[in-house]
Symmetry: C2
Subunit: 114 residues, 2 copies
Amino acid sequence: MKIAHYEQIDAAPVELEGAVGARIRRLIGPNDGAPNFAMRMFEVSPDGHTPKHSHAHEHEVFVLEGEGTVLCGDTEHTLRPGMVVFVPPQEVHQFSNTGTMTLKLLCMVPNSGC
Amino acid sequence: MKIAHYEQIDAAPVELEGAVGARIRRLIGPNDGAPNFAMRMFEVSPDGHTPKHSHAHEHEVFVLEGEGTVLCGDTEHTLRPGMVVFVPPQEVHQFSNTGTMTLKLLCMVPNSGC
């Protein structure tokens, strides 16, 4: 098993092209023995965003803190804490911070997307 | 895609034997087109708990609100918001509310465990 507070798990810059002010904490994943999917936390600074991109794997997202938007396909949606977002495989998407606090999201992916 | 606040998604009693005061919201899952794994929220009332059991699939858990414990194998661990728990396949486990507020957990499972 693994048990930890998320603050005990290092945050690393998101180095994908197009990411601005975004960090990732790899909370649970293959290195912990997770056989199927991974839990990550993204922390996006004010005015920051994740890349606008698409890929073969899905995202399952839960908004923990902050204010922002998600672009999914051609439509932008407002985000607030407690919201869930399912981004299907191949859908273009981007998460942006539109507030003054850090935007914190949990983002789960299959291990193929780690 | 799917986007919603978790409060917009119905909570149903957990009807597994051994569950007390536990409800589940199926936030994202196969019915939404999720191909690999599901996101659920468990809400456990004060003095309530999930079943003490084991199964072939893993859990990836994030504690959102409240106070509680998780029994994992022979060891009980204290939970507080922001904690993550990986319960490997076949591990005996039980989540209990030890506080005065509802204990809210996100619990992800592969679709085989829905």
